[in-house]
């Protein structure tokens, strides 16, 4: 099933900014992050279709997932 994935800031490096590709059924934000080799402790806010979502939310065809890195320095 096709899921849109949007990555931000450092996550884009050597990956992509935005992609719409086919994924197996039963994907979650956590499993997609895993397949993209993004450690979950580096993921801050997660959006699905522009709304905050749980990392274990089952994704549906046509969903757009956004992954934002944790920003905690200063």
């Amino acid at each position: 099933m096709e899921i849109g994935v949007r990555l931000f800031a450092g996550f884009r490096k050597e990956r992509f900014r935005e992609s719409a590709m086919a994924w197996e059924a039963g994907m979650t934000p956590r499993s997609i992050a895993g397949l993209l080799k993004i450690p979950m402790e580096e993921v801050g806010i997660i959006f699905v279709n522009g709304r905050h979502a749980d990392p274990d939310l089952p994704l549906l065809a046509g969903d757009v997932l956004s992954l934002f890195p944790v920003v905690g320095g200063g």
């Binding site: 800031a9 450092g10 402790e41 801050g44 806010i45 934002f68 944790v70 920003v71 905690g72 320095g73």
Partner: protein
């Protein structure tokens, strides 16, 4: 004998009192810089140094009567301080336990090479006196924690987050909420920045950083452009809150690699 008000009326022009005249006034009436500015603002006039601020004397007066706490005096703290000195905020409280190190030079705008090894808050106090002696600065070389929060946040109207780690930020949010103070959050990491308006009780930072897996942002370095942009947004939000305007809460995510800016309004 003329009083300061009469003198200001005679010497002001086009809604402001020139810097030169203000200095004369301070000498003539034995006033401090701060006292002189208060006289001018009370009369609905601007001291010349603030005439390019995009608001009137009434708003400027609000700023001069505000007490702000900057928690942390590293990259964000330096950039926040500099802005408040220019804008003319009244009382600034700044806390940081550290001394300046060479790796701070890339982004901590207070720091000159000759300040290496000096306490950050000591350099902050010097900068404040050099740039704007009308402001009152209180510096504390300590860690923001249970033992220091009470005294540091006493009498504070608004708090600015300039900390460098997540556990301290979670504590700061609780400390502000317990005292009914709004916190303007700012954080940076690599090519990203983040700002938010944390209203007491909203628990915004616990929400952002609350997932069990999150401990710290990855050490990817902090460029000065991210510092400047993030601190700038913090201060613009803080000004609007101080002036009683409505703002959203955010958080807003700043992606300097785009550049791109995303309103992640959660609540």
């Amino acid at each position: 004998m003329m009083n300061p008000e009469q003198w200001i009326l005679r010497e002001s022009d086009k809604g402001f009192l020139s810097f030169e005249k203000q200095i004369q006034m301070e000498k003539r009436f034995g006033l401090s810089r701060r006292e002189a500015e208060k006289f001018v603002l009370e009369m609905g006039l601007m001291p010349e140094r603030y005439i390019r601020n995009p608001w009137d004397a009434n708003a400027q007066k609000k700023l001069l009567h505000s007490t702000l706490a900057i928690v942390g005096c590293g990259a964000l703290g330096s950039a926040l301080l500099e802005q408040w000195l220019r804008l003319g905020a009244g009382v600034l409280k700044v806390m940081d336990p550290d001394v300046f190190a060479p790796s701070n030079l890339n982004r901590q705008m207070l720091l000159r090479e000759s300040d290496l090894g000096r306490p950050k808050v000591e350099v902050a106090a010097r900068r404040a006196a050099e740039v704007n002696p009308a402001l009152y600065i209180i510096t504390v070389q300590d860690v923001f924690c249970d033992g220091t929060a009470d005294e540091f946040l006493d009498g504070v109207d608004l708090v600015l987050d300039a900390l460098d780690n997540i556990p301290d930020r979670l504590f700061l949010e609780k400390a502000c909420a317990a005292r009914g103070i709004t916190l303007i959050h700012g954080a940076i990491s690599g090519w990203a920045g983040q700002v938010a308006v944390c209203r007491p009780g909203a628990g915004l930072l616990s929400f952002i950083y609350g997932r069990a897996e999150i401990h710290e942002s990855r050490a990817v370095g902090n460029p000065v452009f991210g510092v400047a942009a993030t601190a700038g947004l913090q201060v613009s939000l803080a000004c609007r809150v101080l002036m009683g305007e409505k703002t959203g809460c955010g958080p807003w995510f700043l992606d300097f690699s785009g550049p791109e800016w995303v309103d992640m309004e959660i609540f």
